[in-house]
């Protein structure tokens, strides 16, 4: 497990917040990654997919460029591929059903003091913590 890194955490968090601010101020859009990516595989929102593709491309390129400059991305995924496949389905379906993920609800929704986002964030963080507790300490 990595150590506690509050400074880089705060700094990285502020970059995420600034990115969300720019997208709202200039394009009028919420930086919800599940919504942006989900729109690409939803027939209802295929119109105007250009900005979604651009945002996702930027996300991958930004992460890649920074990691390359800073000496490699953090590696290692602990979960096995079958678990990751099940988890991926749950994350994909769940974020769309619940109208958002960590970015949409956790960063943008809470910033607007949305009751829905506060409730959703409490639920997904609580269930995720419970899942880690059961999978790491019970089973």
């Amino acid at each position: 497990m990595d150590g506690f890194t509050p400074v880089s955490g705060l700094l990285g968090g502020m970059m995420i917040g600034l990115a969300a601010t720019l997208l709202l101020l200039l394009n009028g859009r919420i930086s919800g990654i599940s919504g942006i990516v989900g729109g690409l595989v939803s027939p209802g929102t295929r119109r105007g997919a250009g900005w979604r593709v651009a945002f996702v491309a930027g996300l991958v390129l930004g992460a890649f460029s920074y990691a390359a400059a800073a000496g490699g991305l953090p590696g290692g995924v602990e979960a096995s591929v079958p678990v990751l496949v099940i988890a991926g389905l749950l994350v994909g379906f769940g974020t769309r059903l619940g109208s958002g993920c960590t970015s949409g609800h956790g960063v943008c929704g809470i910033a607007r003091l949305s009751k829905r986002s506060i409730v959703a964030t409490a639920v997904f963080m609580g269930v995720a913590a419970l899942t880690v507790f059961v999978s790491h300490h019970v089973i």
Binding site: A19, L22, L26, V77, G94, G100, H105, R116, V127
Partner: protein, 158 residues
Amino acid sequence: MSRIIVALFAGALFGVGLVVSGMADPQKVIGFLDFAGDWDPTLLFVMGGALLVTMPAFRLILKRPRPVLADGFDLPTKSAPEARLIGGAALFGLGWGLSGFCPGPAVAALSTGLTPVLAFVASMLAGMAAYAWFFDRPDNLRSPVGARVPGGGPEGGG
């Protein structure tokens, strides 16, 4: 065209932020979610840092009649949490806890080219497509993507 460039730049800044903060590392995320283990509170600082910027900024931005480059703000319009929101958040939490990946970091981690990341993202897209197939058809008005609300909208989910 300018909106595409903004989206590309915002995505890149978001991606750098995910790597700098440690969110792109699923083991670090698990370390945050593992309250009973060697708990790493870093992610509280990530979310705090983001909210430190978005809370005051969103408040100011949504006072504007419209965004700089578009006709209106595209915001969620619902205000009350309902069973669907809570059920979806619970399913997401289960998947997040099992993998350490939420959508943003998973997409950013595609840049590693690692097979487990590719498997997760492919599966996540399948889950999203399944949702769209069930609930988000063009003839179905239950789309979670909010209506366009000129001049900023009422509260609602993200």
